[in-house]
Symmetry: C2
Subunit: 337 residues, 2 copies
DNA sequence: CTGAAAGCGCTTACAG
DNA sequence: CTGAAAGCGCTTACAG
């Protein structure tokens, strides 16, 4: 089936190609009746403008890129990313932008993907996740003048706008909630410490614990994988003075931690309370269902997409704060036995 | 930073644009020394050909599309898709094809996305998942003459090649394994019954059970979500003659089923054995870790991508059978108490 | 082996 | 309000 071009529409509507272009793009330059006739013909013969031709003449690709830097096996179990993507798409589809996805293994590879995409004019902008200290991606994007939005911060990202959530407030809320239940020995199992938001959470955990005068609070470092989360939990629960509650930096580690507690014969929540960052179906599936720090992840993605589209349009974009995570209490938290 | 064009390379190398094009694409028409000089200059100034210009003149987009049709909340917890995507990308990256992703809610919306992508010349081909009976997507793709590969089958998909795995053999293996452990009352919790591979598994389950002379085998219908998987499990375990083993059509439902068993005070595997289709980290995270029907999902994705690239190149592509799933025994299966 | 030129399908100033 | 034309950055027959 031959795809119709703008010339086909023009011929059938009895106008020039320029008129068709104006009509389709809502530009002035054609009368209302002509515009309507052109639109009717376009619909009738099933015309969509070639993205390649459009990209070439307007120097824009009508696509944005996402190159999450994680092993595929982690991505797959972390519902966070799919939530983010569905939020992006809500905004992108409304403007017929496409989403180009490539999973990468290292920040260096991620940069290579950006360079290639940019060189090939495949995308008009990118969304960065997992902001690190002295993040090597930032100077590259600035040099390429590739529009971008960073999820994370606050940090120094030059002219690149950031979207963050108040992790400090959320972590404080979690610690206070557990303290109110009567817990005095609370531990944290953290994600990759090289990520800025991990650091913020760990600082907030220590500060909130100190403010409440809790004893023996400890942070066990892990990396967001179930494997490491389970190991960290085993370490914590094997210590002489084991915690009565643990806060996990993501859902996957929390589920792994729950399994370790069960394996060690501890009852949840009677012997151990569990709180997980990032609610997902996973947290409701297990027994007992997990108390979580929940936030609107698709909403977060949609907001990031709106910021990026503004940046692509050349508008000034301010840093923004998305909605914070709050406690959703389920069966995994209770007063200590 | 201004992006260099082919003209910049030509000027610097002292040749025509045509020569640069031949050199970059490995075509004859330039001497080896000239070719080398051109390649050096291109690398030096960081040139990548504009994908838009290339797409326009060659009438190919250098991209393939994937429009999985599921609610985002299911996609997010089902590790299957990310595994598939990572497999695709392995093959696509090698040929600098991009992956364009859009999550859709219904088959009708999926078709609309294909039509738009095709009209906009955004993609050169698509990969279909979740083949159904009398699938409405098939005639549309044939009419558009859009290269495609179907995951699933065997079924009548006209000229569109299929890639399937031997679900019948895998299901038979699972039933035999449970029977060998001593189970006589085995149940299945199935996925969406409108999908062809679900039907194949359910038929195989009934046939294998009958062949072994098992009594009271029953299939409870669900839809791949944890919610429905949990409900189906509750129904099965509440019946007078409850099964001693359940086979789940995916990992998410199996984890939900495990939680229901625990909630009802049944010990796994002593009171109930569990087998899950599609191994994922999820299955290893829970306690006890789940026995699964495992297969090489990224490998499956890579094979599909190779088939699709061949179809895009205009070569004839035969139907193929990917590697089948086999039992990986973990802690959730044992002889019945 | 190389250069000049047409063409892919749009958008957008520029004349009428 | 409309038409003819240039241009986006490549690829590819066509002459030399």
């Amino acid at each position: 089936m031959k795809r119709p071009t703008i010339a086909d529409v023009a011929r059938r509507a009895g106008v020039s190609k320029g008129a068709v272009s104006y009509a389709l793009n809502g530009q002035p330059g054609v009368s209302d009746t002509t515009r309507q006739r052109i639109l009717d013909v376009a619909r009738e013969i099933g015309f969509s403008p070639s993205n390649a031709a459009r990209a070439l003449s307007r120097a824009s690709a009508n696509a944005v890129g996402l190159a999450p830097c994680r092993p595929a096996k982690i991505l797959g179990v972390e519902p966070w990313f799919m939530g983010l993507i569905s939020g992006f798409e809500l905004e992108l589809a409304a403007r017929s932008y496409a989403l180009t996805l490539q999973v990468v293994a290292t920040p260096e590879e991620e940069i290579e993907v950006y360079r290639r995409w940019w060189g090939e004019r495949r995308i008009d902008g990118v969304i960065l996740t997992d902001l690190r200290e002295n993040d090597i991606r930032i100077p590259v994007l600035q040099q390429l003048e590739l529009p971008a939005v960073v999820l994370g911060g606050p940090a120094d990202t030059g002219t690149i706008p950031q979207l963050w959530s108040d992790d400090t407030g959320s972590m404080t809320e979690a610690v206070r909630y557990l303290a109110a239940l009567g817990h005095r020995r609370i531990a944290q199992v953290s994600g990759l410490t090289s990520l800025l938001h991990t650091q913020a959470r760990t600082r907030a955990f220590a500060a909130a614990s100190a403010a409440l005068g809790l004893d023996g609070t400890v942070t066990a470092q892990a990396d967001y994988t179930g494997e490491e989360g389970g190991r960290a939990t085993r370490r914590l629960l094997s210590s002489g003075n084991r915690p009565t509650a643990i806060i996990y930096d993501n859902d996957v580690m929390a589920v792994a931690g729950l399994a370790v507690a069960q394996e060690m014969g501890l009852a949840v929540p009677a012997d151990l309370s569990i709180v997980a960052w990032d609610d997902s179906l996973l947290c409701s599936l297990v027994h007992p269902p997990l108390t979580t720090l929940s936030r609107d992840i698709p909403g977060y993605g949609a907001q990031a997409a709106r910021q990026l589209l503004k940046a692509i349009d050349g508008e000034r974009v301010d840093n923004a704060e998305g909605s914070a995570a709050h406690i959703t209490a389920r069966g995994s938290t209770a007063p200590p036995r």
